[in-house]
């Protein structure tokens, strides 16, 4: 049959005005492995979540599955009948529940059958695990698995679902994988690919999301690139060259050039190698991080990057004690901080500051006002005459909001009701304001619009110029280029390369990132 497996027309999805998806057309042919690429925040996962019925799309979208026209959001029954199976980016597992329950969730929570035959379920789960060669006890809680194992469980779950949906001898269905590979070792990736080829050969189709160009080139027949919620291009993978794809992903963003020029203008001259070392990281290692040594000079802005799952952001978590390191020391001048035993409270007292990537979740309390959030780190400043001086606090918060162009500049508004980008401005302003000795930034400008980005960059450069050391973990290469003195590139938990000085350019970084994985 020649009907495409999936045909999406004019798919749009906005979050309170933010268009995560903006008129996306996507066609996945029958028996085709289709790649979906795009930089962070380009809308890939949102597209997946719309398909899975988690998000209702904006009106006007058309969907055809195997030639049959359907309304979005699809009900669970509709999806299962048509053999849709997902591996979500966040995997969609419940940690407290067992591997068995998570793997068989579709079966055991689905209506239809009157009761659950656990023997059969356990057999099925065990079989799928065996087929993937996973030595995992189905009765283990998912919380006891390593991230790799968790990813594998989610993958196995999806494959099992597809494999169970046959029409005659033909497999029938669409397997959607949202960035399944980052956590996987090379041979796991190979096993994954073998399985993908197998299900396709038996009649199913696959939508495969990844940042890893080599993977995409290796496995996909066709691919589509998203940029800022729009389709930047769609092509036969074999035809498209690596460089062309990179260009489609990066796009021709207006600020790249200008950002660089102005960036160059504003940026403090590259910190002289002579500048004194303010912090020294020795032998830092963590569950997903290979040993790392690093010397940070006063006023230096150091970037950390890599493809998703390469673990670069964990350096920040361990340095701040947000997630315990397995070993390592942070030498701050005379002060010697033992990282495995470090807790955030002590980190803050030692003059560290950390802006997590997951912004609503961990870095700000959405239910509280901008004012509350922006002044939290150091309230003692405003504690005079035995009381917090709200007028002063409000005034100060207003200044910060204006300085960082928070829209609307109403500091009594709930953080949650600010736009993503504006919320991000608030949270960054919070730390910039207290002038820490070591500032740890994870995706400092995610979701921030272009103009405001420049302002935040300048603010960051300013604190750096004041002597603060900045570690900036980001997958936004343009940002790293504009901001950093040097950038460390990670892959699979190890620092593979350092790019700095003249050679520090977006293109070079992109090359290094993909080189690193390949390595």
């Amino acid at each position: 049959m020649t009907e495409p497996a999936l045909a999406l027309r004019g798919l749009a999805k906005s979050f309170g005005g933010a268009r995560a998806l903006d008129g996306v057309d996507l066609t996945v042919g029958a028996r085709e492995i289709h790649g979906l690429l795009g930089h962070n925040g380009s809308g890939k996962s949102t597209l997946v979540k719309v398909l899975s019925g988690y998000h209702a799309p904006d009106p006007g979208a058309e969907l055809r599955l195997f030639g049959e026209s359907l309304r979005l959001p699809m009900t669970l029954v509709e999806q299962r009948a048509r053999g849709l199976a997902f591996v979500h980016q966040n995997l969609g597992l419940v940690p407290q529940l067992s591997v068995l329950e998570n793997m068989r969730v579709a079966d055991i929570t689905g209506g239809g059958r009157p009761f659950i035959d656990w023997r059969a379920q356990r057999r099925a789960a065990a079989a799928s695990l065996r087929q993937f060669g996973l030595p995992i006890d189905p009765d283990q809680p998912v919380s006891s698995l390593t991230p790799v194992e968790r990813a594998l469980v989610a993958i196995v779950r999806a494959f099992a679902a597809i494999a169970s949906n046959r029409r005659g001898r033909e497999l029938h269905g669409l397997l959607v994988l949202d960035e399944p590979t980052p956590f996987l070792a090379r041979d796991d990736v190979d096993r994954l690919f073998r399985l993908m080829r197998q299900v396709v050969s038996e009649g199913a189709s696959v939508l495969f999301i990844s940042h890893d160009l080599d993977e995409v080139l290796e496995i996909t027949d066709r691919a589509t690139v998203l940029r800022d919620g729009r389709v930047a291009g769609s092509f036969e993978t074999r035809q498209a060259g690596r460089e062309r794809i990179l260009e489609l992903i990066a796009g021709h963003a207006p600020v790249v050039g200008s950002g660089r020029d102005r960036g160059g203008g504003v940026r403090a001259p590259p910190v002289a190698r002579s500048a004194e070392v303010a912090f020294e990281v020795r032998d830092l290692a963590g569950p997903l991080l290979q040993p790392l040594d690093l010397a940070l000079r006063r006023g230096e802005i150091v970037g950390l990057t890599g493809l998703l799952g390469s673990g670069y952001e964990r350096v920040l978590h361990h340095l701040f004690g947000a997630a315990p390191a397995t070993r390592g020391v942070l030498q701050a001048g005379a002060e010697r901080i033992d990282l495995p035993s470090l807790v955030p409270a002590d980190a803050v007292r030692a003059g560290l500051a950390f802006l997590p990537g997951d912004r609503q979740g961990a870095s700000g309390a959405g239910g509280l006002a901008v004012l509350d959030n922006v002044l939290l780190p150091d309230l003692r400043r405003f504690f005079g005459g035995g009381r917090l001086q709200w007028p002063r606090m409000r005034a100060h918060a207003r200044r910060l909001a204006e300085r960082h162009r928070v829209r609307p500049p109403d500091v009594d508004m709930k953080l949650a009701s600010l736009s993503g980008g504006n919320a991000q401005k608030v949270l960054l302003a919070k730390w910039l304001d207290v002038g820490p000795r070591l500032l740890l930034l994870e995706e400092p400008t995610q979701g921030v619009d272009v103009g405001a980005r420049e302002d935040l960059w300048n603010a960051i450069r300013e604190v750096a110029a004041g002597g603060t050391v900045v570690l900036c973990a980001s997958s936004d290469l343009e940002q790293l280029e504009a901001l950093c003195d040097r950038v460390l590139v990670f892959a699979r938990g190890r620092c593979r390369a350092e790019v700095g000085g003249g050679s520090l350019s977006k293109a070079e970084l992109l090359r290094q990132c993909y080189a690193a994985v390949a390595a």
Partner: protein, 328 residues
Amino acid sequence: MSGAPVVRGSSPVAALVERFALVGAWLAVIAGFGIALPGSFLTWQNFAVMFASQAPAALLALALIVPLTCGDYDLSGGATVTLAAVILGVLNVNHQEPIGLALALALAAGVLVGTVNAFFIVYVRIPSLVVTLGTASLVTGFVQWFSDSSTISGLDATFVDWIITKQLFGISYAFYVAVLVALLLWYVFEYTPLGRRMLFVGKGREVARLNGIRVDHVRAGALVASSVLATLAGIVYAGVLGSADPFSGLNFLLPAFAAAFLGATSIKPGRFNAWGTFIAVYFLASGITGLSMFGIPLWVTSAFNGAALIVAVTLSQFARGRVESDLG
């Protein structure tokens, strides 16, 4: 057993110990008092009596674990027990209605209470604790009005016979009502998709949604079920007493919650489960029975309740390495 998986923390051994610690404790209590009071405590009759008279408590505790599994509290359970008992009394005795009708209306009242709870919790999105706190005192008010705050005795004799006089293996039917409900919940929780849906809703609302589970429907259903089971507890309570007592609802609530949480430390540690709850109720009852046979003053029993709860949960917390539990 090859039932639903038992999620375990550390080693298989520790897990097994954890699962059956409560049963062990129960047996220990029985053994202890049995040795001390062989003639009186360790008799079939003693247990028969205890099983029957604790049946309402067991039913209420079982009622509570339904919404607890979905992550909601039902504080109106105690008041609902009284409501059912009083409806039986007023209709069957004061108004001379046939018992059948009275029973039907009592259960209907349960549906009503549950629906009100569900509306405010699921639709208006008020925390369950707040809503059921409110409905509890609303129901109490209604009960006081409806019963004129006086005990009503003289319930339909055949009804009372069926609950308490008729026996199987020397145990009144009341007990078997509780057993049946425990079996039902065990079956639903362990062997039906609905049960798994409830579990996923309770443990991870987001993932539940991601897997297409209608979270609101499940929660609402659980709240209604809880109230209906509470009325069933009230019916059995009325049967056991042979009269309708308009006051005691609240006194049953906290012990029932204690049993529910205690039960969640065993059989399926970390999850509210029917048999764990059932055992918890009778473990506490055995302890108290033994103590009072010794003629130990009643204040000891209050202390015993509290101590047993804390000790049991603490042990199971250490067994699982003090991870933040997601109960309560």
